[in-house]
């Protein structure tokens, strides 16, 4: 329709990858969008803070020996009445430094979120490729399962998986298990979107000549799928992954609120909020406020970034 085709990427191979990226429209659009820059900066900052938590955090809240209960309920930036110690964001009921706990909690939240999304992504991509490429009853079965999965709200799926997994895990592993079950539960409730998009792209690409040609010269189906078909589906997958990450972080928080999430000795952001909400009316607002703001900041930035990505890559998303 529009006759002016504005090139999407300059295909000048003599330039380095970074150079090409810097000159791409994608990067140009990024530079032009203050929302994208700010949200990217926030996400990057929070992720770095989480990764380097052991270096940044003044205390290690997961090391029980370092805690002093007498520090409990210290307000932010005020010396504790008994120990005279002072904390940037105050302390919680156990005398843990809220700032450090947030940094460490974010590690768990991000780890769970990212792992769950990766898991959902891999599962969704594989099933989407397989069902789109092979078709037939494989496709029927996979897409029927996807339908069923969609009818069941993620939170119930997660609770069911949690309940079942808990029964199968020996008691002594339950603490470690909790996090993996969270990943499994959130991932399992999230793969369908990936599978659908990838399947759609596969169906489109499969009918193209170069795929037929690749088939004729005897390339293995997996090689075709991964080398040729998958790259065409990557931009919508990227967008879905971003938005799923925000959802996964929230889902983790909600499950932790319902008591089926990360244990309080190794709290995630969600667990911190669950603990903190008990102190909302009692005046210790900082135990809830700071983790909630961090969660909001994280999820909001990831969401904004996903939103912007969706517009920038403009994939036809359902």
């Amino acid at each position: 329709m529009a006759e002016t085709s504005i090139p999407l990427s300059t295909k000048e191979h003599d330039k380095g990858r970074w150079q090409r990226f810097r000159e791409s429209d994608f990067f140009y659009a990024f530079k032009r969008s203050p929302v994208a820059i700010v949200s990217f900066a926030v996400v990057a900052l929070l992720v770095l803070a989480a990764v380097f938590a052991p270096l940044i955090a003044p205390t290690n809240p997961f090391d029980p020996a370092s805690l002093n209960l007498m520090n409990g309920f210290t307000p932010p930036m005020e010396p504790n009445a008994f120990t005279q110690e002072s904390f940037l964001m105050g302390t919680d009921d156990q005398g843990r430094d809220v700032f450090s706990t947030i940094l460490y909690g974010m590690r768990i939240s991000l780890f769970v979120g990212i792992s769950a999304v990766l898991f959902a992504m891999v599962l969704g991509i594989v099933l989407g490729l397989v069902s789109g490429y092979f078709g037939g009853w494989t496709e029927t079965i996979i897409m029927r399962i996807a339908d069923v999965q969609l009818t069941f709200p993620s939170i119930l799926v997660a609770m069911l998986i949690f309940g079942v997994a808990k029964g199968f895990t020996p008691v002594e592993y339950r603490d470690q298990m909790a996090i993996w079950v969270l990943i499994l539960a959130i991932g399992l409730s999230d793969w369908v979107q990936f599978a659908r998009v990838v399947r759609g792209a596969t169906l489109v690409e499969k009918s193209k000549d170069y795929v037929a040609a690749a088939r004729l010269i005897g390339r293995s189906p997996w090689a075709i799928m991964i080398r040729h078909i998958l790259p065409n589906a990557m931009s919508p997958v990227l967008v879905i992954a971003t938005i799923s990450l925000a959802l996964a972080i929230i889902a983790e928080a909600t499950l932790s609120f319902l008591g089926v999430g990360a244990p309080p000795t190794q709290p995630s952001l969600g667990t911190l909020i669950r603990i903190g909400q008990g102190f909302l009316f009692s005046g210790e607002w900082w135990i809830l406020f700071f983790p909630a703001c961090t969660l909001l900041g994280l999820a909001l930035s990831v969401n904004l970034l996903g939103d912007w990505l969706r517009d920038a890559l403009n994939p036809r998303l359902r």
């Binding site: 329709m1 529009a2 006759e3 002016t4 085709s5 504005i6 090139p7 429209d25 140009y28």
Partner: protein
């Protein structure tokens, strides 16, 4: 001399992009008289559709008219905005798009779509509108129009759908129809029927037609006059016979040579070397000079001359004898 239905004067369209402002339409002027069919030809990206969209006021932002004037039946319409422009669309200017499969709303019956258009523009009752809808369908040759009025678009074949689209474009009896590649998406066997239909209807009603196409064959069969566009500029403008038989612009010449026209008795097809420049990377001088076999120094330095001085916008137009 009567006022032309459409008169475009020095029309330019600009799009600001990160690489600077580009001009997909650059100083184009032409008229279309009542009952006349003007063929607009050119490669993809030559600015033909953009000009059409500018006329009907449907440029996609940030594209906008940067200079020039558009006159419709003696009224200047390019400054019109919103509601005033909307009243013209459908009523004074009808438009036909390329793909009949996507031009119709799949969820509404064609009767609904016809009736709503009629009701929008004409002061008639609902039942009258429905009657006229049936009549419009009959006119475009839909068999059993009265029954099919309640059908949905997906129940029609491609050719039938394009007939419906034509009925929709013409149902409020506009004085100008812009047909943007109306046959490109259709089967070859159907193309001729649709062109014939369009031609017949417009002749009967005296509707002026801007027929945008890249198909010289269609132009040859249908158009009274032809406008050749290249890189946003008008390359050549003249009566269809003259232009086709004795092109003056080397581009038109190349275009003719590359078109299999049985009527012109060509022996073999030519190809114009190279491709049209990107709008962001327009060469200095005449935009066609890098591909032009006759290009001289002047062509590389000065922009091609305005069309007002002749039929072709070329410093060294090819005269009849130069043609093969």
């Amino acid at each position: 001399m009567t006022t032309p239905v459409l008169s475009i004067r020095n029309l330019s369209v600009e799009i600001p992009t990160r690489g600077g402002v580009v001009k997909p339409v650059d100083g184009v002027s032409y008229d279309i008289a009542k009952g006349e069919i003007l063929g607009v030809v050119g490669e993809s990206g030559a600015g033909k559709s953009m000009a059409g969209n500018a006329v009907i006021g449907l440029l996609n932002p940030p594209a906008h008219i940067s200079a020039g004037e558009i006159w419709l039946n003696g009224t200047r319409i390019d400054p019109l905005q919103g509601e005033a422009m909307r009243r013209l669309r459908g009523k004074e200017i009808g438009m036909i798009f390329q793909d009949p499969l996507t031009s119709l709303n799949p969820l509404l019956t064609i009767g609904d779509q016809l009736a709503e258009t009629i009701l929008t523009h004409l002061p008639v009752s609902r039942s009258e509108a429905e009657k006229r809808a049936v009549a419009a369908l009959e006119e475009v040759g839909i068999p059993g129009a009265a029954e099919r009025i309640d059908s949905y678009p997906h129940e029609f074949s491609g050719g039938m759908r394009q007939r419906v689209v034509i009925a929709l474009a013409l149902c409020a009896e506009p004085s100008l129809v812009i047909a943007d590649e109306p046959t490109t998406a259709l089967d070859v066997s159907v193309q001729a029927q649709i062109i014939a239909l369009l031609k017949r209807l417009c002749r009967e009603r005296g509707t002026a037609v801007m027929l945008i196409t890249h198909d010289m064959g269609v132009i040859a069969e249908t158009a009274d006059r032809v406008a050749v566009m290249y890189a946003g500029r008008l390359a050549e403008l003249g009566d269809v016979r003259d232009v086709l038989t004795a092109p003056q612009h080397p581009y038109t010449h190349g275009l003719m040579a590359s078109t299999p026209l049985a009527s012109l008795g060509q022996r073999r097809l030519h190809q114009i070397p190279g491709s049209m420049p990107r709008l962001t990377q327009m060469p200095d001088g005449c935009a066609f000079h890098p591909r032009c076999p006759q290009a001289q120094d002047k062509c590389r330095q000065a922009p091609s001359p305005d069309l007002a001085d002749g039929r072709a916008s070329c410093w060294f137009p090819m005269m009849a004898e130069a043609a093969e």
